[in-house]
């Protein structure tokens, strides 16, 4: 079984936001919910880098650890998913998430923030694969169709890699050795407790 991961090659990412709109398009994600976003550090200065970030589908996911209702689960592919039927919208996962992935339909927690929504690695949710019920809650399930997440597939410069962790790490390492530089696999240490050459 593959261990699915994301890797954003910051030396390729140009903040074109294709990943963001591809995600919106694929899952009809509503306004205000940002399953994926691009952050630019050192903006406007030499050394500027943009990094596309979403749920990293962490090993030993912090969201799952702090969830009061235990609504998270990890698939055999290493994808961290959750059940919106079980989620109570408490917001704790947002505090625990190192990547700001969990999103809520409403701003306040008074009453309810609504069910948490996040990147599913285009792998849907607990419902049967590619059913309307699954789409309604989590969006489409590309993984079940043998496709990878839309964001990575549509990345303009192929900066955002998705796939088996070992393979994308190898692709990245090859790039670094070809070009002679690499600014690191952003977030890997935090997410996977793992580093990639570069």
């Amino acid at each position: 079984m593959a261990r699915m991961k994301f890797l954003c090659d910051a030396d390729r990412c140009i903040e074109c936001n294709a990943c963001v709109t591809a995600c919106k398009n694929e899952h009809e994600v509503p306004w205000g919910i940002n399953r994926r976003r691009v952050v630019t550090i050192n903006d406007g200065k030499p050394g500027e880098r943009s990094i596309s970030m979403a749920c990293m589908h962490c090993t030993d996911a912090p969201c799952a650890a702090v969830c009061p209702v235990d609504c998270f689960y990890t698939t055999a592919d290493g994808v961290v998913l959750h059940s919106k039927d079980l989620c109570i919208g408490c917001g704790y996962c947002f505090y625990a998430c190192p990547f700001g992935a969990p999103q809520y339909p409403r701003l306040g927690n008074f009453g309810s923030r609504g069910k948490m929504d996040k990147c599913t690695y285009c792998a849907g949710g607990p419902e049967a694969d590619n059913t309307p019920a699954e789409y309604a809650k989590y969006g489409s399930n590309r993984l079940a169709e043998g496709k990878l997440p839309a964001c990575a597939e549509m990345c303009s410069t192929k900066a955002l890699l998705a796939g088996d962790g070992d393979i994308i790490a190898q692709i990245y390492a090859e790039r670094v050795s070809t070009r002679g530089y690499g600014s690191g696999a952003w977030g890997w240490r935090t997410a996977y407790k793992d580093m990639v050459a570069g």
């Binding site: 030396d11 390729r12 140009i14 903040e15 074109c16 936001n17 294709a18 990943c19 963001v20 709109t21 591809a22 919106k24 398009n25 694929e26 009809e28 509503p30 306004w31 205000g32 919910i33 903006d43 406007g44 500027e48 880098r49 943009s50 698939t75 055999a76 592919d77 998913l81 059940s83 919106k84 039927d85 339909p105 409403r106 701003l107 609504g114 069910k115 607990p126 049967a128 590619n130 309307p132 019920a133 789409y135 309604a136 809650k137 489409s140 993984l143 043998g146 496709k147 990878l148 597939e153 549509m154 303009s156 410069t157 192929k158 890699l161 998705a162 796939g163 088996d164 994308i168 070009r179």
Partner: protein, 973 residues
């Protein structure tokens, strides 16, 4: 680079199975989405109610049990030409998939391309024709709209003549739409027909065509993978052409190439460069000459290339000698040592390519800038081979094609010009008599006189009629027919308001109401026609690299919208010339068939080699995309016979008839290949000699050429002299004789409708257009050798005396007062009151005037406010914090008026420079115009237009506007 999961269908044990059957039913998704939309944003726009739905394509989840149709079309947002793969079910576009097979985008998109499906969902599209009646938008039928518009046009014609009607077309037309629109203007009887190229790369086309023959990108995005040095000047490709960066960055990595970005702004492209040069806006020529100075000084130029293929380089040397490092630093601010390194890399680490965009072209010296760049390429021998060349990234998705098909005040389709020969040629193609075309015009003189450029339409609507000091035609502009063009992309918007209000008729035909529809305070005689996007019709479009791609209709036009083709036909019909105009074009229930339009183009566009590009070949290319090589763009021997050996999209020139199967020309002027393999030479466009010096190539020729030296363009006379006329078939000869009449010798490769002359030239390994030297010295231009001229509103008034702009002159029927304005600015010390240089540019999320993209909820969310980038030091001096509201005003805005926008305090811009994106509209000098849009069609995001602040200034050759270098003042709101 992505890894497909091989075991995708393998059963996965997950919690799902455990939870199945336990679930008590889902959360109501609609409610979820609705709440999310309202709760999470304060944007009033989202609350606006849509209009009554006429025929809305309801997007919904895909039904995985039902069959899915995959249809290929092309992204409508920039010139890269990304293939879009649509998944369609029951006539509804339900999903977008990566187009892996496309050699151009290889599955990828930018933010715009990845969200195009929203365009046909169309929450904010115009749904039916409307007109302004007493200031209110009123729904009307198509018949009523076309009848009223045509009647008013005829009334204007009767009172003021055909030249008082203006046709503003679009770079978002398909090639066929652009061609028909140009033909519409021709049959109406005016050359005042233009489109976005005027304000994007008109100066490139003029500058480059005057240097080596064609006004187009010489190489391709893909070919940049071969470059060892890539120099960007005035191009922020990372935001304007994101997918191109895939090729640039791959090449950079593989070749360890130098990527040098010269830009006043530290752009997203600069962030990925190996070297960044910050220079003062408006000093591109000093910068280029500064680089060339080091090249000449150190003898790094390519002497053999210059000797055999360049004319007039010595005159360039004389000018460049003035630009020693000290003077360059004084004018541009760039240290000499930095430019020396750049010069060395560009000249010695070859192949080197130069990429430029609007940073260079949208200038009062745009054409000269482009010429300087071309000369830099020529001096270093960086033209005509893999990895080098002028990689001019064009703007809109079909700006290349629309330019090619003559949406230009000085050209008929395929750059034939507007002289009598051109008109006679196209009259023959159209099957109408030349005399009948002459009769459509005000006079034969106006038929061959270039029209009014789009940058001057409002001046032409308000200036006094005076051939020396005002507008040089019978009457002012009285009517404007605008198809697919934003109003906020043209400078001097406060003036534009006056112009629009002076018009008797304004027609806006567009999927969205553009700024034209709301900017002015018109109350009557203003029409909005809903036009569908290119996803709702078929047709071909030409990418920046001259590759032509055929897009298939994905869904039927939504609501009551119609295709450009149909609306043009209906107008022509009502105006009374449809039968003539569509003589050889198939029309089915008032909808012209794009394939048949392209076949007519194939019969006439010899000069650019659009003749080999048949609809059948284009469709085969789209079908077999995966067989084309990523770097060479060529289909290999394993490819199906119908595309084997072709370059992807048959980049023009694709010589001769489709039957001779020319593969297209991936790289222009490439002497390393046989012309039949896409090789070529510099075009012999300007005669054979000047002042006793030959203009033809010396000892340089394309591979396999039987003439191993320079030669003029092919005419019947040349064929005869070479004795090759006997190679013509009887049919070809008959056609040539029919065309030539009693002067058969003058029939050229470009006017020979049989294609025989071209075919014979190719057979002998020769370029049909001749083999000349490129011109470093272009004697027919205002500045034959580019010289530096300060911007009209220069931040350095001290330099104006030494480097003044050109004197006032009549350009394109309208007076250009540039010199007067520049002197006034110096005399009144405008630079003191407006100390910040204002430049403008693109955002990745939006395109052009931005109505379409600002109406797309997936894009609009990413840029919700108009902003101005300001340097932290300037901000601190003015007490401005990042993100706060600021007021911006320029020297030409009415007294006391200001524009209101957000401040983005950043070091992207240097001190003394501010940057604005130009995609916003809907706020005008602090007034929110949302209420002026027809209900439900207002874009989600509105904002001040950068062009409200921009000022006077036009390029002498093309009347290109100045958007990149003016002055402004900013203070905290």
């Amino acid at each position: 680079m992505l890894i497909k999961r091989s075991d995708a269908t393998a059963a996965r044990s997950r919690l799902a199975s455990a939870y199945q059957g336990l679930s008590s039913g889902g959360l109501d998704r609609r409610a979820f989405l609705r709440n999310a939309g309202i709760g999470a944003t304060g944007l009033a726009a989202l609350g606006a109610m849509p209009l009554t739905v006429a025929r809305q394509a309801e997007a919904g989840p895909m039904d995985h049990a039902a069959p899915v149709q995959r249809i290929k079309n092309l992204c409508t947002h920039c010139s890269v030409g990304c293939t879009v793969v649509a998944e369609v079910q029951n006539g509804v576009w339900v999903g977008q998939e990566p187009a892996w097979e496309s050699p151009i985008n290889r599955g990828t998109h930018c933010a715009k391309g990845a969200s195009v499906r929203e365009l046909v969902h169309g929450d904010r599209r115009i749904r039916y024709p409307m007109k302004l009646a007493n200031g209110q938008w009123q729904r009307i039928t198509w018949d009523q709209a076309v009848n009223e518009i045509a009647d008013r046009m005829m009334a204007v014609r009767a009172a003021s003549g055909p030249e008082s009607v203006y046709f503003l077309g679009s770079a978002k037309f398909s090639n066929e739409g652009a061609y028909l629109f140009r033909k519409l203007a021709a049959f109406w009887g005016t050359n005042s027909v233009d489109h976005q190229a005027r304000i994007c790369h008109s100066t490139t086309v003029a500058g480059v065509a005057n240097t080596w023959g064609y006004g187009a990108q010489t190489n391709s995005y893909n070919d940049i993978r071969n470059a060892k040095t890539v120099l960007f000047i005035g191009s922020n490709a990372a935001e304007a052409h994101p997918v191109s960066l895939q090729h640039v960055l791959s090449g950079k990595e593989k070749n360890r190439a130098n990527v040098i970005v010269a830009d006043p702004r530290f752009t997203r492209t600069a962030a990925h460069a190996t070297e960044y040069i910050r220079f003062r806006p408006g000093t591109d020529i000093p910068l280029t000459w500064g680089i060339l100075w080091h090249i000449f000084e150190n003898g790094w130029e390519d002497r053999e290339f210059i000797r055999s293929r360049v004319y007039g380089m010595d005159e360039v040397r004389a000018e460049v000698a003035k630009w020693n490092p000290a003077e360059v630093e004084r004018v541009t601010g760039v240290p000499g040592a930095q430019l020396r390194e750049v010069a060395r890399k560009f000249a010695t680490e070859k192949p080197a390519t130069l990429v430029w965009c609007m940073g260079a072209t949208q200038k009062t010296v745009g054409t000269a800038n482009v010429r300087a760049f071309s000369i830099l390429l020529l001096a270093t021998g960086n033209v005509g081979g893999p990895g080098n060349g002028a990689n001019i990234f064009r703007g809109h998705c079909n700006v290349q094609g629309a330019t090619d098909f003559g949406l230009d005040v000085a050209n008929l389709p395929a750059y034939y010009g507007v002289d009598e020969t051109a008109w006679r040629h196209w009259s023959r193609v159209w099957g109408v008599s030349y005399e009948s075309m002459v009769a459509r015009f005000e006079s034969p003189q106006f038929m061959t006189m270039p029209g009014i450029p789009s940058t001057r339409y409002f001046d032409a609507a308000t200036a006094e009629v005076n051939p020396q000091t005002g507008i040089a035609q019978r009457d002012r502009l009285k009517a404007m027919i605008v198809f697919g063009h934003g109003g906020n992309t043209i400078t001097r918007m406060p003036e534009a308001v006056r112009g629009l209000e002076a018009l008797d008729l304004l027609v806006v035909a567009d999927p969205h109401p553009t700024t034209f529809a709301v900017l002015s305070n018109r109350r009557e005689n203003t029409y909005l026609l809903p036009i569908c996007t290119q996803f709702e019709c078929s047709g071909s479009r030409t990418a920046s690299n001259r590759s032509v791609q055929w897009g298939e209709q994905i869904v039927e036009p939504i609501f009551e919208s119609k295709t450009d083709y149909e609306v043009i036909y209906r107008l022509a019909e009502k105006l009374g010339f449809a039968n003539e105009m569509f003589k050889s074009i198939t029309v089915r229930s008032k909808v012209p068939e794009p394939e048949s339009v392209l076949r007519e183009i194939n019969r006439g566009a010899w000069s650019t080699g659009y003749t080999g590009i048949s609809p059948e070949r284009l469709k085969a290319h789209l079908k077999h995309q995966r067989h084309f090589d990523l770097v060479t763009l060529r289909a290999g021997p394993e490819a199906p016979a119908e595309v084997r050996g072709d370059y992807y999209g048959l980049p023009w020139p694709c010589w001769g008839t489709p039957e001779i199967r020319h593969p297209g020309t991936h790289i222009l002027y490439n002497t390393h290949l046989h012309v039949k393999d896409g090789g070529g030479t510099f075009r012999a466009r300007f005669g054979v000699e000047r002042n006793g010096v030959s203009l033809l190539a010396e000892g340089s020729y394309s591979k396999g050429s039987e003439i191993q030296d320079g030669y003029p363009e092919f005419t019947m006379a040349v064929l005869k002299r070479l004795g090759w006329d006997k190679d013509l078939t009887a049919e070809e000869r008959a056609v040539i004789e029919r065309i030539g009449g009693n002067n058969v010798d003058r029939v050229s490769w470009a006017t020979d409708l049989s294609g025989g002359i071209i075919r014979v030239a190719l057979e002998h390994g020769c370029s049909p257009f001749g083999n000349a030297k490129a011109r470093a010295l272009a004697w027919n231009l205002p500045d034959p050798i580019p010289v530096h001229r300060e911007p009209i509103y220069s931040p350095r008034p001290d330099l104006v005396a030494k480097y003044p702009t050109r004197d006032n002159f009549m350009a394109h029927r309208v007076i250009n007062y540039g010199r007067t304005v520049q002197q006034l600015a110096v005399d009144r010390n405008v630079a003191r009151d407006f100390p910040i240089v204002l430049t403008s540019g693109r955002l990745v999320e939006y395109e052009g005037g931005g109505e379409e993209t600002r109406s797309n909820k997936w894009l609009a969310e990413l840029q919700q406010d108009m902003f101005v980038e300001i340097n932290p030091q300037d901000a601190a001096e003015r007490g401005i914090r990042d993100g706060q509201w600021v007021l911006v005003w320029g020297p030409e805005m009415p007294k006391g008026k200001v524009c209101r926008m957000k401040a983005l305090v950043t070091e992207r811009v240097g001190k003394g420079v501010a940057f604005m994106p130009f995609h916003f509209a809907g706020w005008f000098m602090s007034e929110d115009q949302r209420g002026k849009y027809p209900a439900g069609t207002d874009p989600i995001v509105l904002g001040e237009s950068a062009n409200t602040v921009t000022t006077y200034g036009f390029d002498p050759v093309t009347s290109m506007q100045e958007t990149k270098c003016t002055l402004c003042q900013i203070r905290a709101a």
